[in-house]
Symmetry: C2
Subunit: 343 residues, 2 copies
């Protein structure tokens, strides 16, 4: 004795491909072909399907596509949380904007993941679990093995910022070396003789590359490269490093700070020590954050295009996913000097 018709199963939230097929008077297969832009579909059928899709407001179910097909139509952006904090917000937001801009129009979703302490294995499991087609990694600290692990697992991976411990994994970075060298040369050209630097942390390539560039710029001019202090990409660390430098060399007349955010702190310290910028001490930063132009005095700096970095990483990854061959193993984006009044 069965009851009458059963309404409980009334869960039909969305249009399905089959309904589109019926509305267009074709088969599921044909609709699928149209959606995926495959050839071998008559223009008549194609037209009918497009009409039906429009009328029904159909949006294909990603989960089903992923399950049935082989790709997830989805890439991950992985940020080491610690790194996100250290490298400061604007960097991250800029990259994100670039990634998104490059993804526009492509039917690819972006999922965001932050690696947490102790969570690494879960992260790797998830990423390698076929849930994403590729991975973008940024804010690497030290010898983080993540990119290597992912690449070894056969997952297309692109790193933002030269990774220290992941030889062979493709990366995109700003040309920190040449940017820093340009800054150093500029200071030399303005007649500065005793030029210091505040570098980023020793376990990040971005810090080391800018330091190397500064060294090269100075040594080409036969100047000493002994005035090096280190910070961690915070204003406070910049202030402390500046104080240290001033103590070691009260006669310094210029400083290249490897990040605008630290330059802000350095500027405060100089001010507190009664040093006029740029008359007594010239200051050049790096990054060209929005705040560089509103610093007092407005900061001369090396601009890096962070949004472009995000775009380029994404382009590189998508190209690899599209099966392109002979892609460059790494890409360096040019920097540009922005002259304001601090140097």
């Amino acid at each position: 004795m069965t009851d009458a018709v059963d309404p409980p199963k009334a869960r039909r939230p969305n249009t399905r491909l089959e309904e589109v097929a019926r509305a267009a008077g074709v088969s599921k297969s044909t609709v699928s072909r149209v959606i995926n832009g495959e050839p071998y579909v008559s223009s008549r059928a194609r037209e009918a399907v497009h009409q039906a899709i429009g009328k029904l407001g159909y949006s294909p179910n990603q989960a089903a596509r992923t399950l049935a097909g082989s790709r997830a139509n989805c890439i991950a952006l992985v940020v080491s949380e610690q790194g996100a904090r250290v490298l400061a917000d604007p960097f991250f937001a800029g990259v994100l904007r670039g990634v998104h801009a490059e993804l526009a129009g492509k039917r690819v979703q972006l999922v965001l993941m932050m690696s947490k302490e102790g969570d690494e294995q879960d992260l790797v499991n998830y990423l390698c679990g076929g849930h994403v087609d590729g991975v973008l990694v940024i804010s690497l600290h030290g010898q983080d093995p993540l990119p290597r692990t992912l690449a070894d697992a056969g997952l297309p991976t692109v790193v933002g910022g030269r990774p220290l411990g992941a030889g062979g994994v493709p990366y995109v970075d700003s040309d920190n070396f040449n940017g820093a060298m340009e800054a150093a040369r500029y200071l030399v050209s303005r007649g500065r003789k005793r030029i210091a630097t505040i570098a980023g942390p020793r376990d990040m390539a971005v810090g080391m590359d800018r330091l190397s560039g500064w060294k090269r710029g100075l040594s080409q001019a036969r100047l000493d490269t002994d005035l090096v202090a280190y910070g961690d990409f915070t204003p406070e660390s910049g202030a402390a490093a500046m104080a240290d430098l001033l103590k070691r060399a009260p006669d310094l007349d210029a400083v290249f700070v490897g990040a605008d955010i630290m330059a802000l702190g350095a500027l405060q310290t100089l001010h507190a020590h009664g040093k006029k910028v740029p008359d007594d001490v010239a200051v050049v930063g790096f990054d060209d954050l929005m705040i560089a132009s509103t610093a007092v005095p407005p900061l001369t700096t090396i601009r890096q295009d962070v949004e472009q970095l995000g775009r380029t990483m994404t382009w590189r990854l998508m190209a690899e996913l599209a099966g392109e061959e002979n892609l460059p193993p790494f890409l360096l984006l040019p920097t540009a000097m922005v002259t304001r009044s601090s140097a």
Copy 2:
């Protein structure tokens, strides 16, 4: 005449639930129950499954879960791109961090979407297409109908920042009104008499709420509330607004700027006009960005906890998804005055 066995179908990237079941000596159903933390599983079976999962490095296929089950285990964070630019990076990055922190441990993915001009329909289709369980929306401008549309479609939605055109959609916001009022009262208590304000854009609630709070604070002290200028959350607009105010009231002795980022510009203008801060003109900002403390002079400001905003939005959404009843329709987060030297 068929060929011998066919190896072409050799795509077996990951462990499947069934293999775990076999390894643990139980059925698929039981493994599924363990994974989903359901009751009615013997501890012996549970143990065996956990062991098998650990040994095989199994990670469930999200696509399949989504397809078979009813939820996507995934929420979207939608940012209006224009808004992201205007409200400036730190806001966005902070919210994101909060969202992520709150999601930690929950098996929920975050997909990021930026609404682009003309893309709205696609966005709505996608979001309502069952690909996500809920939506977080931030950076709303004007009367954006998006939250209303989503909510009407039955999709759980939480807005960050009071939405102007979406009555009834739950939201979380900093208590801009009271924060601004506190700023105004503080200036009054310091003996300032001619107090101006630089407000945010008229089509954003955050701008209007801070303006209202400032007005209330002044009118309670029976002071004039006529010195209002508007900016758009950029340093340049802050500088221009300050210049305008100075022209209209050369005797003004205090200004409440509705965003630190604009305060930076205002500070520049005041400096250029030879006004000493805080002696001639006291300045109070809003937000307490990292740069507030490195401004010259360091900025007195109203702190809002942006990360907490992200956390709270996420908590509210997850609570709704968990079926909790009688949730508050909106939540206001307290602000705090941070006294530095600009006022």
